[in-house]
Symmetry: C2
Subunit: 324 residues, 2 copies
Amino acid sequence: LKKYSDFLTLAEKHLAAISLSNQPVELYAPITYILSLGGKRLRPVLTLIANDMFGGTEDKAIHAALAVEVFHNFSLVHDDIMDKADIRRGKPTVHKKWNETIAILSGDLMMIKAVELLCLSNHNLLPELLAVFNKTAAQVCEGQQYDMNFETQEIVTTEDYLKMIELKTAVLLGCSLKLGAICAGANKNDAEQVYEFGKNIGLAFQIQDDILDSFGDGNLVGKKIGGDITSNKKTILLIELLTHISETDSLLLHDLLHKSTVNNEAKINGMLALYNTYEVKQKAAAMKEEFLQKAFVNLASINLPGEKKMLLKQTAIDLMERIS
Amino acid sequence: LKKYSDFLTLAEKHLAAISLSNQPVELYAPITYILSLGGKRLRPVLTLIANDMFGGTEDKAIHAALAVEVFHNFSLVHDDIMDKADIRRGKPTVHKKWNETIAILSGDLMMIKAVELLCLSNHNLLPELLAVFNKTAAQVCEGQQYDMNFETQEIVTTEDYLKMIELKTAVLLGCSLKLGAICAGANKNDAEQVYEFGKNIGLAFQIQDDILDSFGDGNLVGKKIGGDITSNKKTILLIELLTHISETDSLLLHDLLHKSTVNNEAKINGMLALYNTYEVKQKAAAMKEEFLQKAFVNLASINLPGEKKMLLKQTAIDLMERIS
């Protein structure tokens, strides 16, 4: 039986073989660089798993798998400019290592290369594959814009937040799976269910990410805990807190968020105390669980024998138990 | 007989009807804005003319026409960030009117929308249309990177320059025409010749642009003359001058280019004097003429009666006589 790591190996092999030896080097070197930084390659692996699950041979879906990974990296390069992020996977971001102009332009080129890779798929499937891909790509941009808006937006509701993470993160997981399903010739309903499965897993995953940033074990998560808190990021935890907080406590919260005399440690401790008082971790965890269960319902409704769906289910479980 | 203005009206009508009323407004408003700034709509009109020339009805090529215009505007928005340009067609650029984040992201979205529009074409033609489009889109990015490199590059040869303008400007004109030809069902050779025609016209046009920036009539050209000179831009005029200049004069040139005590008027007059001494305007004009003649050879080789090719020929002539 095939494992996640088998598909990962396959994705890595083909990613390394993408021909990007073109000129000018200033434009292509950043693409090779960002693609070589690794990661779990979740998106292309999902494409390959879905394709395999629906009976496709690997050659049918490899181009779509590469396309989603290259697209994902395009979005990382441009997001890092907008977020003024200096480090990505322990290395300097493209706009830091080179400059902003090169980061914009090599990102643009990756977006184009993603479409180019997708177009290497079976030509009969192109209209359907491109429709899913284009829609998703637009949604990812919309999600990033909502995320940017949140920084200056007074009130962000749970609904706003869920819509943002759905667009920015979740739909690309759904898309990755659906492209694999289409490549394998899955029927419309199954392709839709595997899309919904991916979307719901993505929502659960992002909520978990918020929880871990405040409540995780820094050593296990692999980054400093509390970054979201110190930067006043509108996570599901903060949004839930704002929704439920009493008038008295909201004065305290206001000071924690906006008083420059509060140091980071005091801020983190103060916020965690409020999170505990209002049980927002539990509220967020319940939401995560709800999306996870929805995902399992989606998976169950796919017209395939249970053992065919095992790897996808296990992948979801592993993602959720990552480091909590 | 149809005229340029007929196709322009058609392109404008459909451009105005592109549905971009989506949320978030921060992302879509800049797209509507940049697309409404007008211009001669050369690229979509070329697509429509080529389609018509090869016997296609307008519905066959309208999506491809819109795609090249939206793609062109994507490249303008991102180039304006990189070039730190404040004004485009007399109005603030997107990153000035909004901000850089919005300019990056709405540009990204336009790139995606361009692919989406192209995908509305006849599905049987998608592999061919996308192959031409994707290749061209990548080349446009490469051209922009070369142009950026030129700013800090010591030596730029005429060959380097021609390669840069071919990628940055000329191939998109070729692509616009070729997409129209493919939509109309033109044969491979004719589609290739109309591509080469567009590319050569693009090269001639860009050289003319350089000439006009130093030698044009400001009132007719619609912008201040000498901008390329004051910014030390590596135009074909400067490159030709550097290639032919004597050792004595190159000391004078060095001062004009790099001495901060030289004011703009003196710099422009000094450079124009050198340009006249070395007859670089004539050299550039000869190159322009050569590309124009190549384009006419391409057009002549297309297997259609002469009257069918009249409008394309006239369009090229009008472009060249624009304001010289």
